[in-house]
Amino acid sequence: MSLFITAFVVGGLISVVGQLLFDVAKLTPAHTLCLLVVIGSVLDGIGWYEPLIDFAGAGATIPITSFGNSLTHGAMAEAEKHGFVGVLTGMFEVTSSGISAAILFGFIASLLFKAKGKN
């Protein structure tokens, strides 16, 4: 049960940061998204994101910061094996499933549904 609570609180706090960037710092949705990805990437670079995942589970893997974490993670893992070229090949190693899923499910949804406004 406590795992659910930490996941909820940590995931919620990351989302609060996003909401504050949007409402208080007046960043656009695109800027907010990019900044959170960069923050996740930097946090993994200095080795803080993995401990956060160990602590909060899905609370840390579901928000978009996790995508930044995966980019850095893949790049560093491949760099250890293949040197500098690994940075380039590894970047999308871990993230490829997420990107492919976004394209695939986006495609399926566009076949089945049509965007609608408010009514």
């Binding site: 007046k26 965007a115 609608k116 406004g117 408010k118 009514n119």
Partner: protein
């Protein structure tokens, strides 16, 4: 003759008829009973939002013409615009109507810039029937300027809701018992350095103020002369700023001051700061205001349509938002 953008129309061209079409959501507007046609489908039963957009402008034009028993082939000029890139909905509607056409772009102030052009050609004795107006379709314009609706992006309180509506006026040489166009003021571009595209009202308020001030001074008029002074789509946020600016200029701000954007959805908080879009002012001006002039509730009105002249590219490059406001004075004679 030097006019400095201050226009007078000595022949008093008439707005002989109007046509207003609107989307299904606009049924919620307190003015919806004044609209000529409300579609049951947001794309007007066509394949794309943009096709629906063109259809709305076309239908509003046909409805307006039918009220004076005219057909497009009898019309001399068509001045219209919208907010989609290169104004394709207006272009496609002009292609169907086959009326000599010039696309107008003053963003949401196009309702009045078109009307001023119609008044000019009619006053110059060049036209028997001219169509003027503007429109906007919510989904098409959100995609154009902000995010596609399917992206589901959050909006702040200051943002406005683009209406799905089109309003067209038929301008003819003077006719009895119709509202006439007596004066106008072409706006100047005012840019006070606002950069937030989700707070257009605040950016446009100074432009509306500049045009109001120039109109009153230039035409030796006073706010007391009018039964209604209605801005285009400042919304709650922008209209509050506008009234504050007017008070500072020692203009008496009374109940006569209204904003089409604020009024459009009756202040419903689901629509944030209110309505916007080229169809917002055109729909209210050419239905509610026009109707109340015909019934004699208003004798003399001043309409100041406001537009923000940004593009998605200029905004992405960090440019400020240049704004404009055009004014027209209508009288029941």
């Amino acid at each position: 003759m030097v006019s400095k953008g201050l226009l007078t129309f000595p022949s008093n061209p008439s707005i002989a008829a109007t046509g207003v079409t609107a989307g299904p959501l606009e049924k919620k507007s307190p003015f919806s009973s004044q609209f000529d046609k409300i579609y049951t489908d947001e794309r007007m039963h066509l394949k794309t939002n943009e096709q629906g957009h063109a259809k709305m402008i076309e239908d509003a034009s046909m409805i307006a013409l039918s009220k004076i028993d005219a057909v497009p082939s009898k019309a001399d000029f068509f001045f219209a615009g919208d907010l989609v890139n290169q104004m394709t909905p207006s272009n496609f509607s002009a292609s169907t109507l086959q009326i000599p056409y010039i696309g107008m772009f003053s963003a949401c102030a196009t309702s009045i810039s078109s009307l001023l052009m119609a008044a000019l050609v009619t006053d110059a004795n060049l036209s028997e029937i001219t169509l003027a107006g503007a429109g906007s379709q919510h989904n098409a314009i959100e995609r154009q300027f902000r995010y596609p609706v399917e992206y589901g992006s959050q909006k702040p309180e200051s943002s406005q809701w683009t209406v799905t509506a089109a309003g067209i006026a038929v301008v003819t040489p003077n006719r009895k018992k119709t509202p006439v166009i007596t004066k106008g003021t072409m706006g100047r571009v005012i840019d006070l350095g606002m950069t937030d595209p989700l707070n257009m009202g605040a950016a446009m308020a100074p432009a509306a103020m500049d045009t109001l001030e120039r109109h009153l001074k230039g035409h030796q008029a006073s706010e007391a002369d009018y039964d209604l002074i209605m801005t285009g789509d400042l919304g709650k946020t922008g209209f509050t700023i506008f009234k504050e600016l007017a008070t500072r200029k020692e203009i008496v701000v009374s109940e006569k001051f209204q904003d089409a954007g604020e009024a459009f959805y009756g202040g419903d908080p689901k629509f944030f700061s209110g309505a916007s879009g080229a169809g917002c002012s055109s729909a209210i001006y050419f239905s509610e205001v026009y109707g109340k002039m015909m019934t004699g509730d208003y004798q003399k009105v001043l309409l100041i349509a406001t537009g923000s002249l940004l593009s998605p590219l200029s905004y992405q490059q960090g440019e400020t938002i240049p704004c404009i406001a055009h004014a027209v004075e209508l009288m029941m004679k």
